[in-house]
Structure formats: C-alpha cells, structure tokens
C-alpha cells in the first residue's frame, strides 16, 4: 500500500516523502468529488425551495389545480396529462442502469465500455429532452406560465429540471468527444463517475418533481 514515508534527507532534516503516493483518487477521496457534491447540494437546495414554493402557493387556492376558464370548454379540474411524464419517469429511472455500467467501466479503465455507455447515455439524454419538449405544451399542462401562479410554478419546476437534463446531455457529449479524440485516462475516468452521480441525482430529482407536479396535483 502506498504510503507517505517520514525520513531524513541529505541535510539531516526531517521530511515527509510523498512521492510514493498515487496521483489519482476516486470518490470522496478526490477533491473534484467534493466540488461536484457541493454543487449538487446547491442544486438540491434550489429544487427543494422551488417545490416548497409550489406548496406555499397552493395555500392561496381553494382548488388545486385551479379551474381553467380560458379554454373552450372551460376545465374544472385541469390536472396535467400523465402519459409523457410517466414515460420520462420510467426512462430516467431505468437509465440509471446503463449509467451505472458506464460508471463501473470507468472504474475498470475500460475505454470501450465507457464509450459505449456514453453513447447510450447521450441518446437517453437527448430522448429525455425531446420528451420534455413535448411535455411542456400548454395542451398537456392545461395552463400557460402567465395564466396564474399555478401555471408559473409548474412551468418553473419543469423548466428547472430541463436545465439539469440539458447540462447532463452536454456533459455526456463533451466527455464522449474528449475520449474519442484523446484516449481515456484516470482523471477523465473520475469525471465519468462524477457524471454518474449527477445523473442519479437528476433522476431522483425528477421523481420529486414528478411527484409534486403530476401526483401532487391529483390530491
């Protein structure tokens, strides 16, 4: 096991020789892991606050979702459509599996495995964004963002999560490009595992947002 060695150098000085230590680390041993974890904490806080705002605004309405008088015919209990977001939910939860395989491939320094995994994840990311695009239509959500506070908050929650999807897809893309262009190295292996953590978090966040916007509106 590599260790830092305490010894005495030519000048008779006590030194701690760290040249034998590795030059990479994984998980919580790596500073970058902490940077990533802290950014995730920031974003988690944002998500929690936006969800809290949803429930805070809800107190102002006698009915939730409020009736939608602008459509013809007017809707009295205009809950948002469930089909597309449920597909997204299933897709993003299942996609944690290929992400996990990619994560493991990165830990094995398996370049081909990582590349394969990143292609799959990129495809899933793009698919999620496309689904979100269709999901975010007034015909599905029954409201526009400027109809009332309910419309504003559900559009904001979905939009916020969309930015996370965009970020993840961009990261899959650039990571793949790098590995294709250069070869795989431990530092980028670490990055792939961090990307995995971010993706699991994005999935978990969607479970929360889905529960709030789609299930919450039905109770």
């Amino acid at each position: 096991m590599p260790e830092a060695v305490e010894t005495i150098d030519v000048n008779g000085r006590r030194v701690l020789d760290v040249s034998g230590l590795p030059n990479t680390a994984m998980d919580a041993y790596a500073p970058v892991w902490w940077g990533n974890a802290l950014l995730i904490m920031i974003e988690s806080m944002t998500v929690l606050l936006v969800v809290a705002s949803y429930f805070y605004l809800r107190r102002n309405f006698t009915e939730w979702p409020p009736p939608q008088p602008r459509t013809i015919p007017p809707l009295f209990h205009p809950v948002p459509d469930l089909a597309l977001p449920t597909i997204e939910l299933v897709l993003i939860v299942l996609s944690c599996l290929p992400m996990y395989w990619t994560d493991m491939a990165a830990r094995r320094n398996d370049e081909a495995g990582v590349k394969r995994g990143l292609w799959v994840m990129l495809a899933i990311g793009v698919a999620m964004i496309a689904l979100r695009f269709f999901e975010m239509q007034s015909s599905h959500l029954k409201f526009r963002w400027d109809d009332n506070a309910y419309g504003s908050i559900i559009w904001t929650i979905l939009g916020l999560h969309l930015t996370y999807l965009l970020g993840a897809a961009a990261e899959f893309f650039i990571m793949q490009m790098w590995i294709v262009k250069h070869s795989f190295d431990p530092k980028h292996g670490l990055d792939v595992t961090l990307l995995g953590g971010y993706w699991y978090w994005t999935a978990a966040t969607w479970v929360l947002c889905y529960g709030t916007v789609y299930i919450g509106a039905r109770f």
């Binding site: 305490e6 005495i8 230590l21 030059n23 994984m26 400027d146 506070a149």
Partner: protein, 685 residues
C-alpha cells in the same frame, strides 16, 4: 478493549522505527535554491495582460476581491454621506426623493452584496490555503470565474446608478413594490440580475473553500487542529451553499414576473401569487447572510486574540460549537424580519424563541474570548487587538438591541424605524467592519511585507470609533421617537434635527477615519516598516512563509503537530517533499484526520473562466432585463465556455505512479459495502 484497538488504528504520522539516514530519492537533489527556481517557474502566472487576466493564484485573486470589495465599501459609504447630509436639516433639498431612494437602496445593496460577503470571501480565499498549508485552492479556475462574475455584477449596479437606473425599492426589494405594477422601468431588473450574478459567484467561492479545507490540509491537521479562522470559513461556506440558492431563485422569479414576455405571477396576489413568498425566500437567504458576514469576522477576532494573548484558544471546542450552532440557528430565524406581517402568532412565537436562543452560542463565544485574553500572557495592546476589543463593546450593544427586537411585541413597535437602522449598523459594522479593520492591521504585513503605520492607525481607530457611535447611537433615540427609516426628509416640528445633525457629524468623522486608513495603506505598502515573516509571533501556518508569500506559498509545504504549529515547542514537524516541481501539484489529505492520501494536479491558467463569467453575466443581464430570447443564445455561449474549460483541463498523461488503494473500488456507500469489480484489476498491477 476499544482503547487498544483505537491505539493501533492511529494514523498519526509515524516516524519509521529507525530513520534511514540516506537521502530520499526526491528530497533536495537540487538544493533549496534550485528548488525555489523550479517552483517559481511552475507556479508564477504567465506574463503580460493575458496572464494578469487569467491568473489563478489565490493570493492575487484574494487581494483583488479585498480591494474590489473595499472599493465598493467606499462608494457605498459616499452614498451614505450624501444621505446623512440630506437628513442633517429638516426639509432639506440636497437630494430629491427619487435620488434619495436610489441612494439608500444602492447603499444597502452594495454594502451587503458587494462589500461584506465578497470581502469575507476574499479574506478566506487569501488566507485559507496559507493557513492549511497548501499551495493553492482546489479549483483555481473556478476562482478566476467567480471573481470576474462578482466584478461584473458590481460594476453593473453602479453603472445603473450613474445612469439614473439605480434600484429604489430598498435593499430587500419587497414585492409587490418591486413588481411590474409599482416599479416600471429597468431599475429593479438590473438589481435582481446583479444579485444573481454576485450570488453565483459567492456559491463558487463557497465550494472552493470547503473543498480546499476538506482535502488540502497539511498532514496532521485533523479536525480538532484546524485554526479557528479556517473553521469559520468552512462553516460560512456551507451556509453560503445552503442559503444562496434561495436568493438566486427568488430574484429569478421576480425577473420572470417583471419581464413583459413572460409575465409570470409568483408574487401577484391577483392571480394567486403571494407577496409574502418573496419575503420568506428572501429572508431565508438574507438572515443567514448576516451570519455569513459575521462568522468570518469572529474568526478574525479569535485568531487575533490568540496571537496577542500568546496562548491557545480557551475553549476551542466551545468556539466551534458556537459557530456551528449559530450557523444552523441562523437558518431558523428568518421570520423575525416579518413580525409585522399577518403570520400566525404561534409560529412567530417559535421564531422569537429561536432568535433569543441564538444569543446563547454568541455569548459562549464572547466568554471564550474574554477568558483567552484574561488567562493569556499580558496582552500587547496593538492596533489589531484594539479593534477587536472595540468590536466586543460595540457588538455587545448591537446584540442587546437585537435581543430587544427579537420580541414580537417590541418588534412591531420598532419595525421600519431608525431603531432598526441603529441595530443593524451596530451588528454589521460592529460585528464585521471592526474585526475587519483589525484583520487589515493584522494581515497587512503578510500581504505586502510591510507594517501599517501605527500613529495613523490610532487616528483611524479614534475617528472611526467615535464617529461610529456618534452616527448610530442617536438613531436608537430617533427610532424610539418615531422617525421611520427610508424617509428622505422630515418637518422641523418633529424635533429630530439635533440628533440627526449629530449623526451626520459622526458619519463624516467615520469617513475621515476611513480616508486616513486608505492613505496609510497606500503609503505603508511601499514605505512602511519592513515586517518580516511573522511580525506578531503568531502560531498559525500563514506566518510560516515569507511576507508576501511566493507564488507557490511554501518552499516545502508543512506538516503539523498541534493547533498552533509555529508555537510547538518540541521537535519540529517534518516538511513535505516529493511533490512535482514541473506540475502544479499539491498534497491531498483525508477529510477527518488529514492523513496524506494522494498527489493532486491543479489546473492552470485559462481564458475560458473569464469568458464564462462574461457569458453568464451577459445572459442574465440581457435575458433578465430585456428579452428572454437572449437566454438561448447566452446558453450557447456558456456551453461553449464550459466545453473550452473542460477541454483544456489537464489530463493525467502519465501512467498512475501507484495504484491508488481505493481507485477502482466503487464504494456503494448507500448500501454500506464495497463493490468488487476492480479488486481483480489492482491485483494485476
């Protein structure tokens, strides 16, 4: 039994049973002078303007933060002087109502967002890596990014003011007053985008400091040996991480409400929105922000008191308790800013309880300081300590008026009067600016290599201390006599003139004090007495290197054996050798015990962080003020910048020099066990 097990577990740096008297292969094969040259080549920033723009040196950026924040402090102070002139006489016409509104809003905004928080971050960015004994922060490029984003945000606010576009709704911008209905024009838009910029920058700095403290402490600096100031920065950074999302969220919602293309209704009661939502979100951020400002200041106080009483902190654990408790409770008192709103009384009672209880940890802290001073060697009453003692007095007064205001019944009477203004200036100037000036006198020698002039320093102190009390003490009385805050003038019959005049005179005395300080700093940085490495004989690691420190901070990074490493009487702790001279490499250690773990390569200079800061600011300013259709374009720029940043980050070209003992072993921490996949691999190696 557990005793024995724990003893065998010790990770203390053990000397080998018989130290080999042979040269270690890497140690000093070149000799210290060559070592110095090699490190200088590796760590100094590239020459020229581009090098200046892209620098990633925490000392350089920290000082820029400090200077920029001080610049905003002076500008906001000048606005305050204008306001004091206006209020000196009844029915004064020095400023119009509108200009006065812009001035007090910009004054408050700049002092809170552009001076106090970034100043504390700047002090942390400069001092934390030195105090934990490393060569730079963990993410040097992020530092560059956060500074420029802050700078751009700050410049935008004052540019707006210069073009009669200064915000005029008060620094907390209550809706619906700040909403589209009552605040047409772009004044509030500019304010909210400025806030978002500065807070994104603040969060980046917070991430930076936490990671540096967690992963780059000198070997041996376990959690119970971290200098108090570093603890305060750590706690503060966590507070930033949890508090600042609230302000970026609520100011973004405000922008969306205001943009004519979006017109959302978050704060619009007519469409089911809620004006109080703003107050909740804003104060959920802004009350912790007060502690984000105050807790680092207590770090200055602790370290200065320790250095001047020449003993280790009395009640180190209690001091850490105090900041941890304050940090948590700070998140549980936000409603005390909203006592005048129709919230349920029972809920308000809970917040009263929390607001009163937060006094306890602060009291504990005060007693620890007093005990340290009392039981130490006879303290030397030099300027840093004098400022700190003034802090204790002034902050105590501010704390007492805080206890008064924590009570709902009194609070409702005093809401929006000058009593509140007096209280908040006593706690913020008393709690942050007094320690800060102490810190300037204390660390100026480290930054410049020269001492600040003492005679001028005493003038500065006297003028500022007397001026401060003359300015803000009368405000308590004015408030109790019914003078509301934010009024631009008052009739003569109110009888408020005398006290207002006194306050105005005090404000000019304070300004004179600050002027003396500025002249002193300008003069002393070139002609002051040469300081030497450790002019105060302090015990923390930043004094273990030269003043000012070289670009690589430490020729040989230290290890530590105690809380005040430079005061350790016994055998000196070993220094670190074996880090690369050709790459910017630092030693990464473990979180709890700071045991050496691996060598970590830092990223070098790049133009992309600057580009990213510019892209983020442009996206927010254009998209948030004028037309949200700028946002997609902005996101494209941001993406490009992030790609560039990522693409130019160093890869690990060489083979891993040794198999890291955890790399490749996925740790399924949520299951509490380790995966197996890569054990095979490490056996192959």
């Amino acid at each position: 039994m557990s005793e024995a097990i724990l003893h065998t577990e010790t990770t203390e740096l053990r000397a080998p049973a018989q130290p080999e008297a042979v040269a270690s292969p890497v140690a000093d094969e070149l000799g210290p002078e060559n070592e110095r040259l090699a490190l200088e080549r590796t760590w100094r920033r590239p020459p020229g303007f581009l090098g200046w723009l892209t620098t990633t040196d925490h000392k350089e950026i920290g000082l820029r933060y400090i200077k920029t924040a001080f610049g905003f402090f002076v500008l906001a102070g000048i606005l305050a002087l204008h306001m004091r002139v206006q209020l000196a006489l009844p029915k004064n016409t020095f400023l119009t109502n509108d200009v006065y509104n812009q001035f007090f809003t910009t004054h408050g905004t700049a002092m809170m967002f552009l001076f106090a928080v970034p100043m504390m971050e700047g002090m942390g960015i400069y001092l934390v890596p030195l105090m934990v004994g490393t060569r730079n922060v963990s993410f040097p490029r992020l530092l560059n990014f956060s500074y420029y984003l802050y700078l751009i945000g700050g410049i935008c606010l004052f540019t707006g003011l210069a073009f009669n576009m200064g915000p005029d709704m008060g620094w907390f911008a209550y809706t619906p007053l700040s909403g589209p209905q009552y605040a047409p024009g772009h004044r509030m838009d500019l304010w909210s985008q400025m806030v978002t910029c500065v807070e994104i920058s603040g969060m980046a700095a917070g991430v930076e400091i936490v990671t540096t403290v967690f992963k780059q402490r000198a070997p041996g600096m376990s959690l119970n040996r971290i200098p108090i100031f570093v603890w305060t920065q750590l706690v503060t950074s966590f507070m930033i991480i949890f508090a600042m999302p609230a302000i970026t969220l609520c100011s973004t919602m405000l922008s969306m409400d205001r943009l004519t293309h979006l017109k959302t209704h978050f704060y619009n009661p007519a469409e089911g929105g809620d004006a109080l939502l703003w107050q909740h979100l804003f104060w959920f951020f802004a009350h912790p922000e007060v502690y984000i400002i105050f807790i680092p200041a207590t770090g200055f106080v602790s370290d200065i008191i320790i250095a001047f009483s020449r003993r280790r902190a009395f009640g180190y654990t209690a001091l850490v308790l105090s900041m941890v408790a304050t940090a948590f409770i700070g998140f549980g008192v936000w409603v005390h800013h909203m006592f005048a709103t129709p919230l349920p009384r029972l809920g308000q009672g809970m917040f009263t309880a929390a607001s009163l209880m937060i006094v306890v940890p602060n009291g504990v802290q005060m007693f620890c300081w007093l005990a340290t001073l009392w039981s130490g060697r006879r303290p030397r009453f030099e300027l840093p300590l004098v400022w700190v003692i003034a802090f204790i007095v002034v902050f105590l007064i501010g704390g007492l008026s805080g206890v008064i205001l924590a009570s709902v019944s009194v609070n409702v009477q005093a809401t929006d009067t000058f009593f509140v203004v007096a209280h908040l200036h006593y706690v913020l100037i008393g709690g942050a600016v007094f320690p800060l000036f102490g810190a300037f006198y204390y660390w100026f020698p480290k930054w410049t290599g020269r001492m600040l002039n003492t005679a001028a320093g005493w003038w500065h102190f006297a003028l500022f201390f007397i001026g401060f009390n003359l300015t803000f003490w009368p405000m308590h009385h004015l408030g109790l006599r019914g003078m509301t805050r934010r009024r631009y003038t008052y009739p003569e019959e109110t009888g408020w003139m005398t006290l207002n005049m006194v306050a105005t005179i005090g404000a000019f005395l304070m300004a004179a004090g600050v002027l003396v300080f500025i002249v002193n700093a300008m003069w002393s940085r070139r002609r002051g007495r040469v300081a030497g490495d450790n002019p105060w004989q302090a015990g923390t690691l930043e004094w273990a290197t030269s003043s000012p420190p070289p670009s690589y901070n430490f020729l040989y990074p230290p290890t530590v054996r105690g809380r005040e490493p430079l005061w350790e009487p016994e055998k000196e702790a070993p220094v670190i050798v074996g880090l690369s001279r050709e790459k910017r490499q630092v030693l990464s250690t473990t979180v709890l015990d700071a045991a050496p773990h691996h060598r970590y390569d830092l990223a070098g200079e790049s133009i992309w962080p600057f580009f990213l800061a510019f892209g983020v600011a442009a996206t927010l300013m254009l998209g948030g003020i004028f037309n949200p259709w700028y946002v997609p374009g902005g996101i494209a720029v941001i993406t490009l910048a992030l790609f560039g940043w990522f693409w130019t980050s160093p890869a690990l070209r060489e083979r891993p020099s040794a198999q890291p003992h955890v790399a490749g072993q996925p740790r399924l921490w949520w299951l509490g066990r380790r995966g197996k996949s890569a054990d095979v691999k490490s056996k192959d190696e």
